[in-house]
Amino acid sequence: MSIVDTGDSTAAVVQDSVARPRRTVDRVLAGNAWLVFLFLYLPILVLIVLSFNDNDRVGVWTEFSVRWYGEMFENSRIMGALRTSILVAVLSTAVSTVLGTAAALSLERFRYRSQRAFDGLLYLPVIIPDITMAVMLLLFFVQAFDIVLLVTGVGLSRGLGTITLAHIAFNISFVALVVRARLSGLDASLEEAAADLYASRWQAFRRVTLPLIAPGVAGGALLALTLSLDDVVIAEFVSGAGTTTLPVYVFGALRRGVSPLINAVSVLMLVGSILLVVGSLAISRRRTGG
């Protein structure tokens, strides 16, 4: 990094460029920054403000009220969708965190045949479009259920289970990605040292590896939770009649027109996401800071 190495001279150059009269460029850049912020946050602000509007029609401001929040909490379909969302998110996060961490460990610590191929395939769900993933999964479930019906005579239907499975399927990749980044920075001789000090494989993992990759595991889990709560496309495809997650409900409601009730639901989801992000930042900061 030449910027660091050259030290004083670079500092002088930087000061120079600040002092030189390049005001117009600076102003344009500063203005651009403000525009970007505005572009990003104005819609959110509008959403929050309008969610507190008393009027039935979205675009007309009457007065401040928490009426829509009240209606939201009393709406059994919304609350049902929220429960489904949370259940799916928690279940899929729990399973994908365990499987994703295991996948990361096997890729990082062991050498075996076809490892490369497995490596590439594992990360495929990260790059393929949601819609492709959704179609794939739908096809898969339809075929699989047909076979189950044929073989056992048991008729399965899509619903909570299929959404959870679908979310596990893509979340494993994200968890593995995050945990692996953490693992690769870990000295492999630490595990050898644990084994050398009479720890079994499990004890070495439990006492040495896991505590050291915990921030990565927690980060991966939070990412999985967020992705699961956010997902519309895949859940829309693989959910059956009667099972709806919150984003899918919002998506459906929007087709019937924007209602202030949807604004309130959106704000609820926004607050939930922000809490998750703040939580993950807090965890990673506490870990690296110590």
Binding site: F110, R113, S189, E192, A193, A194, A195, D196, Y198, A199
Partner: protein
């Protein structure tokens, strides 16, 4: 790294090779390690059928350049690698295929491998906890070993808060607290600066004498090996070239590689003429402690400090041992002067390095001066290759 084990290799490894019962602390018999090569290529032989007995209580060094197989050998004794063939015994117990946690040895790692999320005391207590020796016993032994390595007052620090030398002591304490039958050390001083390294060399040696545990020490630093070891094994390309006490390795190197790797040396081509007489390339005859038959081509190795210089016109009663030459370079080294002398005659003149003490009264020579180089017959080693 855990690699796939070759089933056929395992067969040969478990096969009782019936090594004679010994009282050795560590006994290697035909130990071989092959690593799978790249796609379609031959496996790489890192350690090639070595036999080695390390006595109880010995400070034993495996010395060689990087890639010679010394670390792989140590890792096989520790259990981090399994031998492709051969038997590894620790106090007469076959351990070749046992996992590291089932072996009565402990390791001090090159990188120390201290657990960063545990304090010094927790790091040291780890092995005792895994062995379940009980709370009181653990506390007592941890305190004891902390005193041994002089880390009192730092029990609750994290490894990151310690200097390199202190971390090294923690690594040592963490291994010693388990009272292993054999302690394995993988270049433990490599990360320290020169001064600290020299202090630690002496401390390590003293500690080994105090605890009486067999040390197996891996290093590429010949000076380190010479200073500390009771015996040294010099390795190259997976083979043991020579095993013996430091004096023997230094004074009586058996091969060109050992002579060259340990310290500086002069290699002189010669042909045996008569019993105990060899002729150098320039035609000079020198005496030898050797019983090779006449006509054999040999290489002589003589250490620079075993060579003496006299003026060409000085008294000639040592002629049999002396070769004539010209001083090509003289370098002042403080306690000594290093000369490079070109030996004349023969097909081509060749340089010889000489180190002569710098005490008062010792003659100094100028560049271009005609000299004779002498040595005693017992300080020339006849190499096997």
């Amino acid at each position: 790294m855990i690699e796939e084990r070759d089933v056929t290799d395992l067969q040969t490894a478990v096969e009782p090779t019936a090594p004679a019962t010994t009282d050795a602390a560590v006994s290697l018999h035909g130990v071989t390690k092959r690593f799978p090569g790249g796609k379609g290529s031959e496996p790489v032989v890192a350690v090639d059928a070595i036999d080695l007995n390390i006595a109880d209580g010995e400070f034993f060094s495996l010395l060689g350049p990087s890639g010679c197989g010394k670390t792989t050998t140590l890792r096989m004794i520790a259990g981090f690698e399994y031998p492709s063939a051969g038997s590894i015994r620790i106090f007469d117990e076959e351990v070749g295929l046992k996992p590291p946690n089932k072996r009565p040895v402990n390791t001090v790692f090159q990188s120390y491998a201290l657990f960063p999320h545990m304090t010094v005391a927790q790091n040291i207590a780890f092995g005792l906890e895994m062995k379940d020796v009980g709370r009181d016993e653990t506390a007592r032994r941890v305190a004891e070993v902390i005193e041994l390595v002089q880390l009192e007052g730092r029990e609750n620090r994290k490894p990151k808060q310690l200097s390199g030398g202190q971390q090294q002591r923690v690594a040592l304490a963490r291994a010693l607290v388990n009272r292993p039958k054999v302690l394995l050390l993988d270049e433990p001083l490599g990360a320290l600066d020169l001064k600290l390294r020299q202090t630690m060399q002496i401390e390590l040696k003293q500690m080994q004498e105090k605890v009486g545990i067999t040390f197996v020490y891996v290093t590429h630093d010949q000076e380190e090996a010479l200073t500390m070891s009771d015996r040294i094994a010099v390795m190259e390309s997976g083979h043991l070239l020579q095993v013996g006490p430091p004096e023997e390795i230094y004074d009586r190197p058996r091969t060109r590689f050992v002579a060259d790797f340990i310290g500086e040396t002069n290699l002189l081509d010669a042909t045996i003429r008569d019993h105990g007489i060899a002729e150098l390339r320039d035609g000079t005859q020198v005496r030898l402690d050797s019983h090779e038959p006449a006509g054999t081509a040999v290489t002589l190795a003589v250490r620079p400090e075993k060579l003496g210089l006299v003026r060409a016109d000085a008294d000639r009663n040592h002629d049999l041992d002396a070769v004539h030459g010209t001083v090509a370079r003289a370098t002042f080294m403080g306690n000594a002067i290093a000369y490079e002398v070109r030996i004349d005659g023969g097909s081509e003149p060749f340089p010889v390095e000489i180190r002569q003490g710098n005490a008062p009264g010792i003659e100094h020579f100028a560049v271009g001066e005609q000299v004779r180089v002498r040595w005693s017959p017992s300080s020339a080693s006849v190499l096997e290759d």
